[in-house]
Amino acid sequence: MTSHDDHRPEEEREAGTGPVDEIADPPKVANDGDDPNRGAHSREVTDGSADEPGGGWLGLSGLSVWANTTVVALFMVPSAIVGTIVLVVVGQPWWALLPIPATGAFIALMTYIDMLRLRAIRYRVTAERMEIRSGIIAKAYRSIPRERVRSVDVAAPIYVRVFGLCTVTVGTGEKVGSGGDQLKLEFVTAEQGERLRRELLQRGPSTSTLAGEGEARARVEESELVRMDPRWFAYAPATTATFGIGFGVVATLIGANAQSGGRGWLWISEQAGLPSAQEVSDFVMGRLALIVPLALLGLLLSGVVVLLVVAVETWWDYRLTREGDGTVRLRRGLLTSVSLSVEGRRLNGVVLREPLVLRAVGGASVQAVATGLEGGDEKKTSAKSRLSPAMPRARARELGTALMRGRHSPLDVALARHPRAALRRRFTRAGIVTLLGMVLAGLLGWLHMIATESWWEAARVIEENLVPIPVVVEGVQVTPSWGWALPALFVGVAAFWYAMGSYRGLGHGLHSDYLVLRHGMAIRDTVTLEKSAVIGWRITRSPFQRRLGLADVSATTAAGAGMYTVADVGLGQGLAWADEAVPELLAPFLERVEGEEATKGPSVSL
């Protein structure tokens, strides 16, 4: 502690462009109606509602309280009734008086709190800003300039839709408190939701005339980019997770049986006259060749069913349209109907996504690279950005091209290959995985050889407690110990195949307006990103990459995932690409070197 300025406060600066303001205490607007300036100001711009007290401030729909209450009641009242019956049956009549009134009181309390919350929330849209006030005890006031509104998401889950309500989520492209960049209104009437969607993405002071001819014009100019084809649902089960989901379903059933101490299966088999677990086990062991494929088929089928149901719920009535002002609008959903609008200018590119299995059957899906769709983490952002279900690859490319509005599609750009060193890195990794697999297999094989009958017995007991029909331990025991070499071999082959595919997936290229980059084996993404959306570069090199003359070159952007990376590109190759993509940004920091030294990187890297 020697410095003279030890006690100076930590400094914080904000550069000019103020982001979303979050003010703990609202300024004057908190007092409804006694602020003539604001009232007058907003009266010109918020149509219809201007006569209300509070200068155009609107509340949420009063029905939203009832929507919430109904849902809570639907879950709680039946369990309260069941609880009462159970208590009566077990001979506790006094206690039986408790559940229903307690539930009633709880629901009443929840409803009351919800009403307070509802009353505290007010929002309005003026010519320049969208403002929201909220909070019962801790008041909050948020204000976003309308030009920062990137996307408007109108969703109506079934229990909300029956009340004619919807949720409106406004994406701002700025962090708003925790968990992403969005403001949520739960719930407003469907009509209000639709008006918000239109108003918020409409620029300029034309808001007041919007309800009339403007709306009609916008509707006329709306053009459809794509509509759901029921045949596309067939692509839904084409995922690597299909088996896993099927396994999950079966595992849940087995788990339920184990919970009941095996009595579940016993009961079912007695009722239906099925053989006991022991008999089934003997039967299975006798016909493994038949039963194993059948079981796998069963897993696959249950996975297929689950995925189909999810796809139908998600993508039912899917339509993607472009409206007169360039806004791209997505509508979809069976039980929860979703309408997502992204301002055309904020759609900075697309992702053509081809997961492994979908790729094998010639399918792909399209995602947006847009600001205002961030969901807190990468997975949620990706889920929010989906613009299409799995569809035929050619159709997906067509859609991507249409979204980017170019005559020459960025998705058709020829991509440059990455150096062989990138393949060598992947082979090294595959080699390590293979080696680990071999060591593990050797270890298990060795255990198999020295295993005594009592070990097998113990394993069988454990399995019997988990599964009614223990076949795995039995199966393993009858296999010779060298059988462990087979999985090791399989792992090795799969690892090298994956490495090769991963290398083949790498690529980068340039279109006149877009960067194009591709990577991935399990999920192959072809990303296009508008050159003007690049807001910086990040180049990283690991010790291995420095030795091989490689680098990861990432374009940073406000849109989508925030950063798109060309992995394991040659250093010179990657920098040349970045320099050409956004001239003048990187150029002052580049230098040309000759021959051998070129790949070594800056002199400071030891």
Binding site: E11, I535, R538, T540, T557, F589, L590, E591, K600, P602
Partner: protein, 165 residues
């Protein structure tokens, strides 16, 4: 490929020399804490003592090695530069990172000093853009220099219109 190839030149300015001492202290603290973790069961539990002592020994040796090598290595890599149009930094030691952000896309500029940095009279400047890739950080600057850098950046970014996306 041609015999000529592009590479990044190092940014102009090194960080303050005191940063070496700062990183050394940081690394020492981490080493001491990590070594102490297996020492506790080693003292309490007789039968496994040799194993935990071995683990503590390995951690201590690796930690001290890092403490000796890392700060000097970092000092050679960590550099920064601010031009009229962009911020350019390099950082890291084994894994290295270069960042470029144009002045027009900078949203906020902060300076921050942890207690340890303060003890050495150092400061960090954090430059945030609209990207989720994380802010650009220049750490280990002399406190006065950091303030000047932040002021310069704030002035430059205010001069550029637009909403930085």
């Amino acid at each position: 490929m041609s015999t000529d190839a592009l590479r990044l030149r190092p940014p102009n300015h090194r960080v303050d020399h005191r940063a070496i001492r700062w990183w050394t202290t940081q690394s020492l603290i981490v080493t001491v804490v990590l070594t102490a973790i297996p020492l506790v069961p080693a003292l309490l539990w007789e039968p496994v003592r040799p194993w935990f002592l071995l683990a503590a020994g390995i951690l201590a040796v690796v930690g001290l090695l890092v403490t000796v090598v890392m700060p000097r290595w970092r000092y050679r890599v960590h550099r920064w530069e601010i031009t009229d149009t962009a911020v350019y930094t390099s950082s890291g030691w084994l894994w290295q990172e270069w960042r470029v952000a144009p002045m027009s896309r900078i949203q906020t500029v902060d300076t921050a000093r942890g207690p340890l940095q303060r003890a050495f009279g150092l400061s960090s400047v954090t430059v945030t853009t609209a990207s989720a890739a994380g802010p650009i950080e220049i750490s280990g600057l002399d406190h006065v220099v950091a303030t000047e850098v932040a002021d310069q950046l704030t002035d430059s970014t205010e001069a550029v219109p637009g909403d930085a996306t």
